[in-house]
Symmetry: C2
Subunit: 201 residues, 2 copies
DNA sequence: ACCTGAACACCGTTCAAGT
DNA sequence: ACCTGAACACCGTTCAAGT
């Protein structure tokens, strides 16, 4: 017993996160026990505490990785097209990610932490939000960045809600249908509210 | 030991649910253990299994009660006013409930059940959804009930998403601000999409 | 019939002891 | 320095035994 150092701390962290990812993806949060992770990677559960503070800290790290994946899936969607098309592409990318990894995605929001988030975490969330703001920017002038930020949050939150309810089976309709309606209403409403009846977008 | 029958099964159920409600409201799901509930009501944890199948079943019953409260808080909001005002009132009532009971409300969605829902559960959810559909009905003709149902789900899901993100502190804006924007865009967009530029609502 | 208390099979977490 | 194995203080759940 004791002292193996088959892996550096960084390797060990990666090993743990990879095992945790697989467990959550396949069997959900309930199956994610420290003993199970340790067994899967050939260590003892005590070892995990050399490299993570506790189970919450481990989940936070996993959520960070999931947010990175989500950002990758969602950024750079349909750069060229008009705003409405880009919004639709963005929404579809988000919904697609949720459908592909419902358990990992749920873990981000379902897990109620006891401790506050560390500094490195909020930017990962903000970066995902930022994609919506960029996509929306052409609709708003430089002077209306506040409105743009608000609209971006409104649309993200709405999209998010549809994904939550769809993944709970509480929607009785595809989230894509609903989000298309949302975007259609938003764009049409925006043209009215932004004055006159422009067609540029 | 054994045989007390201080309470009928119905009373016992109510006692358990009341204790559970208080624990979740004050300390969240993590504090809701069978032993803790039993202690609070002066029984032993084994007794809970006479009246609930397991912890999940108990939580489901608690969620049912919360949904009833939510329905009560949300139904009958501003019956007289025009649709936009009623939508705002409905949204405020929902947000108000979530802010007053974030932990009980979260339990409805955060808890990932292993077993499928029993028959009595979905109608409780549907009833809450129904309020939105009723509120929206004046905007749609009898022939467009499908559109109405879709718009209702779209708005519920959006409202829901805002509450989720607000209660996680991930919004950096009040949910009320966002939902007002959502409703404004929806109404303005609807008038355009429903043809012409009616003002009736 | 109803409840208890102990038991079982788990948890997360800590840490002395080993290498 | 790093890891193990046992221990501690919990869980949910079951059930023989008592009244």
């Amino acid at each position: 017993m004791g002292r193996r150092a088959d892996h550096t701390p960084e390797q060990l962290r990666a090993l743990v996160l990879d095992a945790a990812r697989k467990i959550v993806a396949a069997e959900g949060e309930r199956a994610l026990t420290t003993r199970r992770i340790a067994q899967d990677i050939g260590y003892t559960s005590g070892t995990l505490y050399n490299v993570f503070k506790d189970r919450d800290d481990l989940i936070l790290a996993l959520n960070g990785a999931t947010l990175d994946e989500l950002f990758a899936a969602v950024s750079g969607t349909a750069r060229g097209a008009d705003v409405e098309k880009r919004l639709r592409a963005l929404a579809r990318a988000y919904i697609g990610f949720v459908r592909a990894q419902p358990q990992l995605w749920s873990l981000i929001f379902e897990h109620s932490r006891a401790t506050p988030e560390p500094d490195w975490y909020p930017p990962k969330v903000a970066r995902v939000f930022g994609v919506m703001e960029e996509t929306l920017a052409p609709l708003y002038g430089e002077a209306a960045r506040r409105d743009c930020a608000q609209a971006a949050r409104m649309l993200w939150a709405s999209l998010h809600g549809m994904c939550v309810l769809e993944s709970k089976g509480a929607l009785a309709m595809p989230a894509t249908t609903l989000v298309d309606g949302l975007i259609r209403h938003f764009i049409a409403g925006h043209e009215v509210l932004a004055g006159g009846g422009r067609r540029k977008a």
